[in-house]
């Protein structure tokens, strides 16, 4: 196993390189003028600007390998350049937006995984029961509604109408003043956790009120999906021979579920969970836009829209590293769950 992990880690740099080349490559299909638009954001800025000179200045006419090499050498020195879309250095943009998305991801991940697995189990075990049907209905509704519609509707009900329980944004006005004051220590830049660490109940509650709706929107679709997968794979597993055997042997139902069926049914679930980490960014994009959270998802979209190459590269780099580790974790989980699976 250790050798397997080591082997996978050694391959990591090549994977990253592959990713960067693809993205860099895609962007280079744009013409020089299109890439110049990063530096010229409005017609007014065309004045007195010689486009050719500008292109020379930014080295846009250099061959692709030169440009890529230049970028790589910058990266190695942790110089990620300037993010035109965020109007700040790319590195700073990343460190600013990352905790925001992380907080959202944490608050939506727990319901997704726990809820999905647990409810899925419940549904499968109570196959064709009332509980099963409720769970399935819930899953289907969650599955069929576009998240941005759900988000806006939720906002409308819980913020627009008579009540203002769950406002958009990350923090209310007063709470924000507190958080930005000198007395409040920013350990993690995640409002909920920092509030706990600072022992400030008011800020905590405020932060939670602001995170509930985005977390729901982020999680319900995946929750629904996970529920269905869990349910279907568990249903399938329950019929497998070794389960019947265990039952025949007289083992208690609970044990059968926990010890045998669940473990094996978790395999596709683990796969799916892995996939969802991959698609986390996509979920973040919509949620962050509607609820006005300035996180990685929104940054990525703005960067893509404005052809902000440096941001896109760092973003993809981050994603690449994250996913390689996530996939590795998934494969290790396979081995753990199914002792018949070996890699050596």
């Amino acid at each position: 196993m250790i050798s397997y992990i080591t082997r996978r880690m050694l391959v990591l740099p090549f994977v990253i390189l592959g990713v960067l080349l693809i993205v860099f490559g895609m962007i280079q299909f744009l013409s020089v003028n299109q890439r110049l638009s990063t530096y010229i954001s409005s017609p007014a800025e065309l004045k007195n600007t010689d486009l050719e000179v500008l292109a020379e200045e930014y080295g846009l006419n250099d061959p692709i390998w030169t440009r890529f090499g230049r970028w790589i050498s910058d990266v190695v020195q942790f110089n990620f350049g300037w993010s035109e879309s965020a109007k700040m250095p790319t590195k700073k943009a990343f460190t600013t937006f990352f905790p925001v998305s992380l907080e959202l991801a944490i608050w939506s991940a727990l319901p997704i995984v726990l809820g999905g697995i647990w409810l899925g189990t419940l549904a499968a075990v109570n196959h064709n029961n009332v509980i099963d049907h409720i769970a399935r209905l819930f899953a289907i509704v969650g599955w069929s509604l576009p998240s941005f519609v759900a988000g806006l509707l939720l906002l409308m009900v819980f913020y627009g109408g008579v009540v203002s329980w769950f406002p958009p944004g990350r923090l209310g006005f007063e709470a924000k003043q507190i958080v930005n004051s000198a007395q409040f220590v920013r350990y993690t830049h995640m409002n909920t956790i920092d509030a706990i660490l600072n022992g400030n109940w008011f800020v905590f509650v405020n932060a939670v009120r602001h995170i509930i709706l985005p977390a729901i929107v982020m999680s319900y679709v995946r929750w629904a999906m996970l529920l269905r997968i869990m349910r279907s794979s568990l249903l399938e597993t329950l019929r497998k021979d070794y389960v019947q055997t265990a039952r025949a042997k007289g083992q208690k139902e609970g044990v059968v579920i926990k010890k045998h069926a669940r473990r094996n049914a978790l395999i596709p679930v683990v796969t799916v969970a892995g996939i969802y980490i991959a698609f986390l960014i996509n979920g973040l994009v919509v949620t962050e836009t509607i609820f006005d959270w300035h996180g990685l998802g929104r940054w990525a979209v703005n960067a893509a829209q404005q052809f902000d190459t440096s941001s896109l590269m760092l973003f993809v780099l981050f994603n690449g590293v994250l996913l390689v580790f996530a996939n590795l974790a998934v494969d290790i989980m396979y081995a753990y769950l199914d002792p018949r699976v070996t890699y050596d």
Partner: protein, 634 residues
């Protein structure tokens, strides 16, 4: 316990827990945020930088104009509730700000020199302090103007000071011309120092308690360029800027501070994220792309502001902004005109309409001699299933398109009635240079048909054509304008085919610069309120738009418009200039260089407890100048 029951119980308990969390959440209702001493404005822009010499975007400008001040300012009207108090909205009259008097010919502070130049003398107010406590001196003013000129970052605003004060559009061209070489990189440091001493130094000098600006040639818009809301002319504290690592102010050192970050890395400028001005508010905190927080400057040279603080936040979603407004968390928000129905009649919300604006946004541009090679927007490149390169060269075609636009319908339906026809390119609110009397094109499909039949010796009508109109993505009213052209032109003849496509800015720029866009829609907002700032981009041979409208347009411009544009700048006499601009407008109409689409009136949305929100057409938004604002009920 039975497995099933146990699970069911856990299920029920969890549900209860979730519900109770929600209930607890409600119980903690925040008190209604009125924040009587703080103004919260919500907008959509991201500020690029806080450096007045670097910034060239509205969002940065909004921060800078509240923190910094200029020599002079425009008067502002106060718009309260639904009644406009008829304060002066003028953009050609000035009030003193950091100058104690506004220079004019009457008071002798504007005078001609024997060698044909003009001198502007600004006596500087005493007893003014910067936020860091330093006192304002005339040297600070001299420094600020010179700093902007030498910084001249790519795509930046420095040209607006360089042009009047040195006659050159960029400092690098100044230096290379003085040195007599081709490229800036070929100049030596001796050249650069010499150029500075020959041009920059004498242009701005200190004499006693005054600052003297010396121009070699008349430049009528100079006062506009210096007035407050022209944030590139903000006055900075020389000592403080040098302490931040900025230019010390000497002739020898300026090249090191020129073009920081190549114009694309605003962070490279030492004033990127720091501000120290004389304005009524200090900047407490700036999180780029999120918010800017200001607090009152108690030692302001006028009465300190009523508000203790001011917060400028960013939210991109209209729905979210609207909710913040309606809930009272936000006092002023940015609202695109078409959503006005959604807030009319909302409790506690005021909508102010019919405010004058100074912009040409958008207009429809024709490209004459459009490039047809490798161009998906011109179809086949010849009649029938495409357009030939000279399609728009025939003035009859251009006039026909002018007749094919539904001006009134656009105002009624797209602008909800809050718009007006314009005789372009000089904006309507730029008196006295705007020719109200000029008879413009109107919606007349019969005339359009007639013209198209005659155009290109009948070939156009006989063979038909197909091409694509471009607009940039996400802009609803521009798409509608394109759709209007399409619907009306296609009505005239079965063989006419127009497509409408949205492209993003990068593609747009690419296509425009390559002169591949047959008809495109884009807009222009004033840098400074002088007709020169409009006729140049729209009609000069090297104009921002006209320079890309094809060979045919260039020829027209060089022959007919350039001389007039130059002439209008050679005199400061209002009457003389008015005649010339009238002529330019007439020519624009006669030659049908573009289609002047109806313009939107200004509109502001705020809570009705916001008092004294100042207005001037040069303020890009209601929160451009917060000083006079207070909150309360009358």
């Amino acid at each position: 316990m039975n497995y099933r029951w146990k699970n069911g119980l856990i299920f029920a308990l969890s549900l209860t827990l979730i519900v109770s969390l929600v209930v607890v959440g409600l119980g903690q209702d925040e008190p209604e945020i009125q924040n009587p001493n703080t103004l919260t404005a919500v907008a959509t822009g991201t500020a690029n930088t806080l450096d007045p010499s670097y910034a060239y975007d509205t969002a940065s400008g909004n921060i800078i104009t509240n923190v910094y001040e200029n020599l002079i300012r425009y008067p502002y009207g106060v718009v309260d509730g639904d009644e406009k108090k008829p304060g002066d909205y003028s953009v050609s009259k000035y009030e003193p700000m950091l100058a104690s008097k506004v220079p004019s010919q009457e008071n002798g502070l504007i005078r001609k020199t024997p060698d044909g130049g003009i001198i502007y003398e600004f006596p500087i107010r005493e007893g003014v302090t910067f936020h860091n406590g330093n006192e304002l001196t005339p040297e600070d003013v001299e420094y600020s103007l010179e700093r902007t000129m030498i910084q001249d970052r790519s795509g930046g605003p420095s040209w607006m000071l360089l042009e009047p004060l040195t006659g050159y559009g960029s400092i690098t061209s100044l230096v290379t011309t003085v040195a007599g070489v081709e490229e800036y990189s070929e100049t030596t440091s001796a050249d650069r120092t010499a150029a500075f001493k020959a041009f920059i130094d004498p242009a701005v000098e200190v004499k006693g308690q005054s600052v003297i600006l010396k121009l070699n040639d008349p430049y009528p818009p100079l006062m506009n360029i210096l007035a407050h809301s022209s944030y590139w002319s903000s006055v900075m504290d020389k000592q403080w800027v040098a302490e931040q690592g900025g230019w010390p102010g000497t002739a020898e050192t300026w090249p090191e501070y020129h073009n920081p970050g190549g114009g694309s890395a605003a962070e490279e400028s030492p004033l990127y994220d720091k501000a120290n001005g004389t304005g009524p508010f200090k900047l407490d905190r700036w999180e780029p792309g999120q918010e800017a927080v200001f607090s009152r400057y108690e030692d302001y040279w006028r009465e300190p502001a009523e508000l203790e603080s001011f917060v400028l936040q960013k939210t991109q979603e209209w729905g979210t902004r609207r909710l913040s407004l309606v809930n009272g968390e936000a006092d002023i928000v940015y609202m695109p005109l078409q959503y006005i129905d959604q807030v009319q009649g909302a409790k506690g919300v005021t909508v102010q309409t019919g405010l004058p604006t100074i912009q040409m946004n958008p207009a429809a541009f024709f490209t004459q001699d459009v490039k047809t090679e490798n161009n998906e927007y011109v179809g086949s490149g010849s009649w029938g299933d495409g357009i030939p390169s000279n399609f728009f060269n025939d003035v009859k075609v251009r006039k026909a398109f002018n007749y094919a636009f539904q001006y009134d319908a656009f105002i009624e339906q797209v602008l909800q009635g809050y718009g007006y026809k314009t005789n372009g390119p000089v904006p309507k609110n730029m008196q006295p240079y705007y020719n109200d009397e000029l008879e413009m094109y109107s919606y007349d499909l019969d005339k359009a048909e007639e013209l198209l039949k005659e155009a290109h010796d009948g070939e156009l009508w006989a063979k038909g054509f197909e091409f694509t109109i471009l607009y940039n993505s996400g802009n609803e009213s521009r798409k509608t304008a394109a759709d209007i052209f399409e619907a009306n032109i296609e009505k005239l003849n079965d063989k006419f085919e127009i497509n409408v496509r949205s492209v993003d800015w990068s593609t747009y720029l690419d296509m425009m610069v390559q002169e591949k866009t047959p008809l495109f829609l884009i807009g222009w907002i004033a840098d400074f309120p002088d007709p020169h700032n409009f006729v140049t981009p729209f009609m000069a041979s090297d104009g921002t738009f006209s320079g890309w409208q094809g060979q045919g347009m260039k020829e027209l411009a060089t022959e007919k418009y350039d001389p007039l544009i130059e002439e209008a700048m050679a005199t400061v006499d209002e009457q003389e200039r008015k005649e010339i601009y009238y002529e330019l407008q007439r020519l624009a109409k006669e030659d049908a260089v573009d289609v002047w689409l109806p313009q939107a009136q200004g509109i502001r949305v705020m809570r009705n407890w916001v008092q004294n929100a100042p207005f001037n057409p040069m303020y890009s938004d209601s929160w451009s100048y917060v000083y006079p604002i207070s909150k309360g009920y009358e």
